[in-house]
């Protein structure tokens, strides 16, 4: 579909010089994306959190894990000018901790999504393109990962692995890897479906007729045509990974050495009655960031889907 339209302007360019640049796929997508206010808001939220994470030490009034309120009798005090979001039981400044949590959330979100999507793309491409026995084996494996009680298995693996790994060794990375390893399955299935659709196109048949190798067809022809789905799924996967990390930390299976929003909610959960501010603010940031990635993902889906093009 896309190829057909892009050949004509190219021929024109060769015959006579045209000053204006040709309109690429990405130009069109960007034009559509710009019009989508919800998606722009999502990008803005993500930008804001990335800003927080990048300059956390400058933004936060107190150093990480500092307990400014502890010795001066200001533990668990409500929000004020000195402590914007109040302090918790140990006198941590909730605002500072929330700012430092941004980096953990982004780290786990991007990292887990990278792992999950690499696996998903690999499985989806191979399964969809080769078909037959390979497809059968890969899809049965995918189904196992789809039906398995994801959170339960994740908790067990985290608990067991942190029990054998000496404490302090990359706890947050373990959480990230585990989330990635267990959440590729739904994405692999969607990518496979898309590959199956692309595989039937005429241009694939044409390159087959020209004698292109299977690997070349997969990476040079199929992959670019499912890339838009992969981008959308990656964005949504980041949102899911952030939610899962928060849940895992909330249940007490996260990295206790790291500062994460989920962890803050876990501590807050013990004292919601006395100190509502301990939980309300970190949770707000989780929601905000997840919302940002969801809005961006939905916006990208609308902008990039060639079938929705007018």
């Amino acid at each position: 579909m896309k190829r057909k339209s892009s050949t004509e302007p190219k021929l024109q360019v060769q015959n006579r010089k045209i000053r204006s640049k040709g309109v690429s796929q990405w130009n069109i997508a960007w034009r559509r994306f710009k019009k989508n206010r919800a998606a722009l808001a999502g990008a803005l939220i993500i930008g804001f959190v990335i800003f927080l994470a990048a300059f956390d030490a400058l933004i936060a009034p107190f150093p990480p894990n500092a307990t400014p309120g502890f010795y001066v009798g200001e533990a668990r005090v409500p929000p004020s000018l000195k402590y914007l979001f109040g302090t918790d039981r140990l006198g941590h400044d909730v605002f500072s901790q929330v700012v430092y949590g941004a980096r953990s959330a982004l780290y786990v979100g991007f990292g887990a999504a990278a792992i999950a999507m690499s696996l998903a793309v690999l499985v989806g491409l191979i399964s969809g393109y080769y078909g037959g026995l390979v497809d059968n084996i890969l899809m049965r494996t995918t189904e196992i990962f789809l039906v398995i009680p994801f959170l339960l298995i994740l908790l067990v693996f985290l608990k067991v692995i942190t029990a054998i790994v000496p404490s302090g060794v990359g706890g947050l990375s373990i959480v990230m890897i585990m989330i990635g390893v267990f959440s590729w399955a739904p994405n692999a299935r969607i990518i496979r479906g898309e590959v199956l659709r692309v595989k039937e196109s005429e241009f694939i048949e044409a390159s087959k007729a020209l004698g292109a190798s299977k690997r070349r067809i997969i990476f040079k022809h199929v992959f670019p045509n499912v890339l838009h789905i992969i981008i959308v799924l990656t964005t949504l996967m980041i949102a899911t990974a952030i939610l899962v990390e928060a849940a895992v930390s909330f249940l007490g299976f996260g990295d206790t050495a790291a500062i994460t929003w989920g962890q803050q909610l876990q501590l807050a959960n013990e004292a919601v009655k006395e100190a509502w501010w301990e939980g309300v603010f970190p949770g707000l940031f989780i929601t905000l960031l997840v919302l940002g990635f969801s809005l961006l993902g939905n916006g990208l889906r609308d902008a990039l889907d060639p079938r929705l093009r007018e």
């Binding site: 049965r140 494996t141 189904e143 196992i144 789809l146 039906v147 398995i148 009680p149 994801f150 959170l151 339960l152 298995i153 908790l155 067990v156 693996f157 608990k159 067991v160 692995i161 029990a163 054998i164 949102a239 939610l243 928060a246 849940a247 909330f250 249940l251 007490g252 299976f253 909610l265 807050a268 959960n269 919601v272 009655k273 509502w276 939980g279 309300v280 949770g283 989780i286 929601t287 997840v290 919302l291 969801s294 809005l295 939905n298």
Partner: protein
């Protein structure tokens, strides 16, 4: 139809075995469980460790342990707990906790379907109206709020500030506090808040699904034909469109229910609800592997049954599926 059902059941068997292998691997990936459980105990002697290892049959080769586990599983035996209530049988323990989990999750699923389907339909019928925008925005927001955060907010507002509902647990401690002295009413009163939160969380994705599915169906030619032949709008939407629009919803309900059960630890932790989810968290913290495996298998079986029911319902609604 019967052949279709049998085919679906046969199809679930390898799935079940695959999951069993992963669950088993999860509990053994770090080596001997006794070693793990006793690292915190300074008083344990190597002899005691050896004795425990032999007692639980953990000195046998892995494949042997796995076959023993399978053989016991098919006799309905999930082993005994390592740590809880003096080595109570896992099946008994699950039996004690399972109903409370089901009660909560099923109620939430029921209410969310009851609310989500009409809302999704109305929203689709008036696409881009103010109502539609409100519904979609709220639903997208609903999918982004972590359920435990929603729970904490609900507890702060409804349990502490307003004092309408208890903050946690399934029953009042003192029988004098039962509403009208009724044990059942007390449970319902405790259930209200977690059910409401869980319903809202489950509701959001279903609303979006019903809406998009309905929109797609309403655009099809046969709907145009139905309208052209002069059928009332009501009949077009509720009779002709709805039946096809619900097909994707039916397929998702099974998956949702599985995901809800697997997510039980979260809700049950927030509301301190004594179900299998909370039990699972407790067992995992203590590395009580028989309980961990027992609950995981139990939830897997429930998920597979939910999927099977979904498949059957799917085959019933959509005749094309039956003849693959």
């Amino acid at each position: 139809m019967i052949r279709y059902i049998i085919r679906r059941i046969l199809y679930l068997i390898p799935l079940f075995f695959g999951i069993l292998i992963i669950v088993f691997a999860a509990t053994r990936v770090a080596g001997n469980p006794v070693q793990l459980m006793t690292t915190q105990n300074p008083h344990i002697t190597p002899e005691a460790r050896q004795h425990l290892t032999e007692y639980y049959g953990l000195d046998k080769p892995l494949y042997y342990q796995f076959f023993i586990f399978l053989a016991e599983l098919f006799q309905g035996n999930l082993g005994n707990s390592y740590a809880l209530r003096g080595g109570i049988a896992v099946t008994t323990l699950i039996g004690d906790y399972a109903w409370l989990t089901f009660e909560l999750q099923l109620a939430a699923l029921f209410f969310s379907l009851l609310i989500a389907i009409p809302i999704g339909i109305i929203s689709a019928k008036r696409q881009y109206s103010k109502l539609d925008v409100t519904v979609t925005t709220t639903s997208i927001l609903g999918t982004c709020i972590p359920i435990f955060y929603m729970g904490i907010i609900a507890i702060i507002i409804f349990a502490y500030f307003l004092g309408w509902f208890p903050a946690g647990g399934a029953h009042s401690i003192l029988p004098e506090r039962y509403p009208f002295g009724s044990y059942a009413l007390d449970e319902l009163w405790h259930m209200a808040l977690p059910t409401a939160v869980l319903t809202f969380a489950t509701l959001a994705p279903i609303v979006l699904l019903v809406r998009s599915s309905m929109l797609e169906v309403l655009r099809q030619d046969y709907i145009l034909a139905a309208r052209a032949s002069g059928l009332s709008e009501r009949s077009v939407v509720y009779k002709h469109a709805l039946r096809n629009a619900l097909i994707p919803v039916v397929t998702y309900v099974g998956l949702y229910f599985g995901a809800m059960l697997a997510g039980a630890p979260i809700t049950e932790k927030v509301f301190n609800w004594p179900g299998v989810g909370r039990l699972f968290v407790e067992a995992t913290t203590k590395l009580d592997f028989p309980i961990i495996m027992g609950i995981t298998i139990f939830i897997t079986i429930m998920t597979l049954i939910a999927n099977l029911i979904t498949d059957i319902a799917y085959g019933y609604i959509d005749p094309r599926i039956r003849v693959e």
